[in-house]
């Protein structure tokens, strides 16, 4: 585990992203704060509509002009929120790169893979054509594409899903980014290929000292890949801490319920724990805790009074009014696996 003090590269403070009109805004991300250190992999986990992807996009400034971002996004001390497009472009794609869930729709189907890597090298480096080609081969090799040299002239459709995601990562790495934003990069892939891509991201982060924010809905992916994890619900953070701590000993009723609904050490074919109801719509969030409507331990104040993130242990924060009740409700987990 890497828990020792490392330089914080990204410091997000009170991020708020909203869409719609000023009078009736839809708040997709509400008062989200977290930090990412160099070489660290932070998992951002939540269900569809929890705001995890919008958080990533807000960092990169790609939700404007329709979305409005407030709060601070400090990238090595510099706030990205007030930057104009031109200045943002010097950071976006160069220092901070992003990969998406659907590599086929992010790659240009009409350009060869070599050309698409070169494009990024032209934009962000001063390499000449020959050096760019050499670098492109090096990058494809780095992300584990066999016979890299012979594949430069291939088009995206000639690659499999897993190989396309590797190409996307190669393009993202072209500018030597210090932070990689990965938006469900393995959701469309098979478990075996997902495993290969996650191991690749892990080794790149370790070898290049690159920070990664990995958005996923799968707690298993987090457990196997991330150093720390932030659990999101209804656009808010409900729990953040080291992966080991959150998985083994979750505190927020939502994280507890989410982990409990995954079958592990339960008798086969017995009812699984399920969180009642469905995630709330953004226009129907209560003023208090977003999870209160589905929460088994919600009290009278939960729907009205917003719980703040509070320290629970040295490295963890939880936003819940009823931590004791939550632990009592879900009971201690048998440690045996």
């Amino acid at each position: 585990m890497r828990v020792q003090k490392k330089t914080v590269v990204l410091d997000v403070r009170h991020l708020r992203t909203e869409f719609g009109t000023q009078e009736r805004p839809l708040v997709a991300v509400d008062d989200v704060s977290f930090q990412v250190a160099e070489g660290e992999i932070l998992g951002l986990v939540g269900e569809s509509g929890s705001g995890k992807s919008i958080t990533l996009r807000s960092i990169l400034g790609i939700i404007r002009p329709r979305g409005r971002v407030a709060g601070e996004i400090l990238w090595n001390g510099q706030d990205l929120v007030p930057l104009d497009e031109a200045r943002l472009r010097r950071i976006r794609g160069r220092e901070i790169a992003m990969i998406f869930q659907e590599p086929m729709s992010s790659l240009n189907p009409l350009l060869t893979v070599g050309l698409q890597i070169s494009e990024n090298l032209v934009a962000h480096t001063d390499l000449d054509a020959r050096a760019r080609k050499a670098r492109a081969i090096e990058l494809l090799d780095l992300v584990g594409i066999p016979a890299a040299r012979s594949r430069l002239d291939d088009f995206p459709h000639e690659f499999s899903g897993g190989m396309r995601q590797r190409v996307m990562i190669a393009i993202a790495l072209a500018s030597n980014p210090k932070l990689l934003l990965a938006d469900e990069p393995t959701t469309a892939l098979d478990v075996t290929i997902q495993d290969q891509i996650l191991r690749l991201i892990q080794s790149l982060s370790r070898d290049l000292g690159m920070a990664v924010i990995l958005v996923t809905h799968d707690m298993g992916v987090v457990a196997e890949t991330c150093d720390r994890v932030a659990v999101m619900y209804g656009g808010r953070l409900c729990e953040i801490g080291t992966t080991t701590e959150v998985i083994a000993d979750a505190r927020h009723p939502y994280s507890l319920g989410l982990l409990r609904s995954i079958p592990r050490d339960v008798a086969p074919r017995t009812p699984l724990y399920s969180i009642p109801g469905a995630p709330p719509a953004l226009n129907a969030l209560p003023p208090g805790c977003a999870f209160s409507a589905r929460c088994p331990v919600a009290g009278g104040d939960c729907a009205d009074v917003r719980p703040r993130l509070q320290g629970a242990g040295a490295l963890r924060q939880v936003a819940c009014h009823h931590l004791q009740d939550a632990l009592a409700h879900f009971g201690p987990r048998e440690a045996a696996q």
Binding site: E47, S48, S160, G162, M163, D190, V191, T192, I193, Q194, D195, Q196, L198, R199, Q202, S203, H217, D218, M219, G220, V221, A223, E224, T243, T244, I247, A248, G257, L258, L259, S261, I262, P263, R264, V266, P268, R269, P271, L272, Y273, S274, I275, A278, P279, Q337
Partner: protein
């Protein structure tokens, strides 16, 4: 184990697949024809023998493109196999036509992955269910509406749901409508192709619980095709692992998951993300990708990715044979399985 396990010899299987194969011919382009290139053939399902016992849940797992959905669709009668036979209660169903075809279709119902595209957006839930019930003449007159309410109750949808359109429901609720539609025909066997894959984790558990409950209540046989191994382990009595259109291992769920014998099953299970951060690996569990079903490797189809492959594996295709609690198609299952 206290679970009712289907016996090997006792009752006759509900469903038997005998040397079942499905090949899709790729369309030849004009230039292929002019150049006299041979026709390309996708071998999606190869020579599969499989018995499904009444009342059991058989899990079918494998990577995308391994043929698990084709297998499900063959069973549901959506494809006609190119070779082999499907027996339902001992009788062949491959060449059925007319009323007999409809009778089989009624008894084997398929449920699909995508709750957004498998329901007609212009039909209310009531219309969707009524259509199924009237086509198969399950009920008459006023009994139809009573049955609709009964079905919605069965899948735990609220009373007012019948007169709403699919877009008014969440993904999990739509999947319940799909289940209600399948159950409206009082089937014997349900084929669930990635039933919960499109749903959020917290909703998956609700639908899986419902499926298990309904199965026990109605005595259904279920084929559960999925790629989420944790869920398959949870719902299945037996599990078949498919690789390039063939079964490489089949056995009781707990035995297979706790001690897989085939190197592919081992790799597949190890690749599935576990919830134990201490079980982290630096190297991927399985290298390489599924070869194209247009050109299945000779010998053991898995030998190109197998860490244990020998000369024999490149030459000789291993047959599915009893190993441990189940059946495995590997020349070296005993030595590898115990490793």
């Amino acid at each position: 184990m206290t679970m009712p396990m289907p016996m090997q010899a006792g009752p006759i299987p509900l469903l038997s697949l005998c040397a079942l194969s499905m090949r899709f011919e790729k369309r030849r382009s004009l230039s292929d024809t002019l150049a006299r290139r041979p026709q390309q053939v996708v071998s999606a399902v190869n020579d599969v023998d499989l018995d499904v016992m009444p009342g059991e849940t058989l899990g079918i797992v494998g990577e995308s493109g391994c043929g698990k959905s084709t297998l499900a669709r063959l069973i549901a009668g959506l494809h006609r196999p190119t070779a082999g036979d499907i027996l339902f209660e001992g009788k062949s169903v491959v060449g059925l036509k007319g009323a007999r075809r409809r009778a089989y279709n009624r008894r084997v119902q398929m449920m699909f992955q995508d709750p957004y595209t498998s329901l007609n957006p212009r039909m209310t839930v009531r219309d969707t269910l009524r259509e199924a019930i009237t086509v198969h003449r399950m009920r008459d007159g006023a009994a139809i509406d009573r049955r609709v309410d009964e079905l919605l109750d069965l899948v735990r949808l609220p009373e007012g749901a019948a007169d709403k359109y699919p877009h008014e429901f969440s993904g999990g609720q739509r999947q319940r409508i799909g289940i209600a539609r399948a159950l409206s025909l009082e089937p014997t066997c349900l084929v669930a192709d990635e039933l919960v894959s499109a749903l959020d984790v917290s909703i998956q558990a609700q639908v899986v619980n419902l499926l298990i409950e309904l199965q026990d209540e109605l005595g259904l046989t279920v084929l559960f095709v999925a790629h989420d191994l944790r869920l398959v382990r949870h719902v299945s009595h037996r599990v078949a692992v498919i690789y390039l259109g063939a079964i490489v291992e089949i056995g009781p769920s707990e035995a297979l998951f706790s001690k897989p014998m085939h190197p592919y099953s081992k790799g597949l299970l190890a690749a599935a993300p576990s919830l134990d951060p201490s079980a982290r690996r630096r190297a991927p569990a399985l290298v390489g990708e599924l070869p194209s079903p247009l050109a299945i490797p000779p010998g053991c189809p898995f030998h190109v990715r197998c860490p244990h492959a020998t000369e024999r594996c490149r030459r000789e295709k291993p047959a599915l044979r009893p190993v441990g609690a189940g059946m495995t198609a590997c020349h070296f299952a005993e030595t590898i399985g115990d490793a």
